[in-house]
Each structure stands twice: as C-alpha cells, then as structure tokens.
Symmetry: C2
Subunit: 265 residues, 2 copies
C-alpha cells in the first residue's frame, strides 16, 4: 500500500458525503473515492445478513480501486459488518459507530442519552452494547426513526409532515431528561434544526463526522500512509444507481456539485 | 407446461399480495408462488436499468419453480420490464399496468384522469403512453407520490402526517375536474380512504387487481392451462429479505397470516 492511494468511503447512499466533507477538511492532500450503493438503499430496514452481503460487495469494489483505508460511513453497515470487514480486509477499516460513541460519551454529563437511527441500526443493539461495555451506568434511549431518510431524500427538510413524524418518533424523549443525542445516521444532520427543536435546546446533538476524520488522520499517520504530495487531490464519486437523484442530493450533503460515475451492483 | 404448475406472482415487496388475493378468488384451484424482492425494494425510486435487472433476476427464480404464467404485480417493474419479459420468457406474462389502464379507461366519463404512482412509474411515462395510444383525447395528470410506500410500510395508514403528505402530493388535483384516478402502485389501496377524502367522493379510485385476475383466468383458459384438479391449492411465499416485516405487513395486504421462505438476491 502506498501513501498516494486513495481513502475509500462507503455508504448505502448519499449520506456519507457528510463524512467525506469533514475528512477532506482534515486531510486536504488525500485522494478520496466514494461509493454509494444507491441501487440497494435503504440499508436501514434490511436484515443483518443482507446488509453484510451488500457491504462486502461494496467494499470489494473499493478494494479493487486500491484504497489504503476504508471508512464505512453508514451506521447500519457499521453496526452489522464492521467486524467482518476488519477480519477480511488487510487495510485499516474505520466505522462511524465508534466515532459516534466516543463523541456521545464525551458530550454527556448526566449519562442519560438517546440514539436516533434507522430500524436496523437500532435493532442491532451494537451502539447500545458499545456504550454499555465502556460504562454500564449509562441510561440509553434507542429510538428508531425509519421515515427520516425517505423524508430527507424527498427534500422535505422543514415540511410540517416531517415535523409531525419527528414528533411521532421523538415526543417521548423530552421527559427522559437526556442531555445528549447521537444522530446515528448520516442523513439526520440535514434535519438537525428540526430535531433540536423537538428535543429542546439543552440537548447536545452529536455527529460522528469530525471524530471520524480525526481518527482517519491518526490512523494514516500511525501506518505511515499520509499522502505528503502537494498535488491537487482527486475525488472520485461512484453510485450503483440513480445518478440524477444522487447529484441533486449531493449539494445538501457535500455542499457542492459532483461528477458521478455509475458502478452497477 | 402442465396445468398443475403454479402461477408465479412477482412484486418488489409485499404490495403484490393485493393482486394475489384477487387472483385466488377468481382461480381457487390454482397453485400460486409469490416472490417479493424485499432485499432491494423499493423499486419505485430506482433507475429503469436497475429495475429491469432486478425484475429479470426475480423472474428467473420463479421460472426455475416451473411456473406456467407470470404476473408482474408491481407497477414500476411492469412499466420498465414487461416488454423484455414477454420477449425472453416462453410463458404468458401479465402486468398490472395494462389491467390498470383498461379499468381506468372504462371508469372515466370525462376522460380527465389522474395516475398516482411511484417516481419511477410516473417518470417512465409508460402508463401515460398506453392511454394516449388508445385514445389521444384523454387529459392525464400523472402524480408521483414517493413517500406513500414508506409511510404505509411504517403502518401509518391514517396518521396526520400521512394525510399531510397526501395533501402535499394531491392538493392540485381537485381543481382539475378529474373523475377517476388510477392507484398505480399496489401499496396505495391500503390508504384508499385517505386518498378518497383528499380527491373527493366523486372521483373513482381504480385498482388493477380484479381486472388482472380476470385477465389471468382468460389467458389460462385460452392456453388450456387451467388447473382442473380439485385438490387444496398450494400457496408458497418467498421474499429476498426481512421476513418479519413481510409477514407483519402481509396481514394488511393479504388479509391473513402466511408462511414465508427466504430466497436471497
């Protein structure tokens, strides 16, 4: 593996671009290849077995592109497939769940926290177990919000229906006296203001992006794989389907237009 | 092909059970094998190319089960893949779109009609072209309702948010003076009362199920493939993922509990 090889970032769709955006802030010299498995999204309501199979196939595509490190920028894929990826791949693998948990545990004072995620992420129990293993005194309120992703993909970021669905999922939380909530899905930062309003201003909303970027930087340093060439970095974007929608949504998640190639899965 | 072989019904998920329910009413002697491609749903926001690929793979599974006739009980798959299936398969293929169009054209008097469907079904333009080819004087209002499927799969059939999303999609229709609307997605009959309320009581809501069942019966008769044995028919149900959710939703779409087997895709 050589330093000028790219970092690979994988997500079921466009949401992982929120992670990529932060990674390239911290690692401006690095080449990055992004793959979104849009032909089979959403992963969030699929079974563990299906998520593992899709994730392995997506990782193989990036491995063929000779990436030097893989970021699994999808909570559902991280929850189910991270251990298997770590076992099977010979490059470092970084998942969003560890970064999310580290940030959440650093933020909370009361140790009463919520985790908001897809059904599959919440049902896996992986995030809950990670926290409890580190500190068993945490009181955790895992909350599945399955409609957030389709509502966001419909660009109804601030629509009354999105607010109503938000209240439907989250209305039990304000009385639980939480002080922090992990946004355990890379789509959710897009409706951060709405979630903040429902949970109240005293609840810290935690995202894994910055922590994930710092972890990536540290890992590349330790493996002596930082790209020290000063050339303009190359960013490549692949998706397995629906390029128009991906590019339209990319503006919200990545903040700028992108060139997308299709890789069928 | 022999008469005791089963009818195959394919859908991206559980929605096609509304078609199966009607088919077994009209053809109580027939064995039926149902396949829902739940690992890759929804098809409704995927590209034409992806929908064709997934549909061909799903059809192959049913062909291996030696079905004598294939019903494509998914408007998105019917819109994109029906012609290719007809070319490639040596058995009769029946799609929901033709049945839907026949019913819609029989129902309307004013020839001002709406088509409600997934984004992919609406964007394909297939339903619109089918109608216009038969009678160019029709005024059609094609209306994509992408969030209806996830809302229904969340069982929010009568939730205020579903009503709000319904109004968001359909509020332009009452002033168009339509007298009929095709529910061009097998999920939509589940929220029929809500759609009826928004469009008004004078708008006939058209479903393809009965027409599709009659067409199947006629086709089997013509091919001399009706099963005339009086044994209790066998119903087999397969899905490519997420059996719990499929079985839970099956109650609403099929009206009774089912035994499901998993066939990975």
């Amino acid at each position: 593996m050589i330093p000028k090889n790219a970092i690979g970032i994988f997500d079921s769709g466009v949401g992982g671009l929120t992670i990529m955006k932060e990674v390239i802030k911290y690692l401006p010299n690095e080449n990055v290849i992004y793959f979104g498995d849009t032909a089979r999204l959403p992963y969030g309501d699929k079974s563990e077995e299906a998520v593992i199979r899709f994730t392995m196939e997506s990782a193989s595509f990036l491995i063929e592109k000779r990436i030097k490190l893989l970021i699994v920028a999808c909570f559902t894929a991280s929850s189910h497939a991270l251990k298997i990826l770590e076992q099977k791949l010979s490059i470092p693998v970084i998942g969003v769940i560890q970064s999310g948990v580290v940030e959440l545990m650093a933020a909370t004072k009361s140790k009463r926290v919520a985790i908001l995620g897809t059904l599959s992420t919440i049902q896996s129990g992986v995030l809950q177990a990670l926290i409890q293993n580190k500190e068993s005194s945490f009181v955790i309120f895992p909350t599945a919000c399955p409609l957030f992703v389709p509502l966001i993909e419909e660009e109804l970021f601030d629509h009354p229906a999105t607010r109503m669905i938000g209240e439907h999922y989250l209305k039990h939380l304000p009385e639980k006296n939480i002080d922090s909530a992990l946004l355990a899905c890379t789509h959710y930062p897009i409706i951060r203001p709405l979630i903040q309003e429902i949970l109240g201003p005293h609840v810290a909303l935690i995202e894994p992006a910055r922590s994930c970027a710092i972890k990536t930087q540290t890992c590349l340093e330790q493996c002596d794989l930082l790209n020290r060439q000063k050339a303009t970095p190359l960013y490549e974007f692949y998706a397995s389907d629906n390029p128009e929608k991906f590019c339209r949504l990319a503006k919200f998640f990545f903040g700028s237009d992108i060139n997308l190639k299709i890789e069928k899965k």
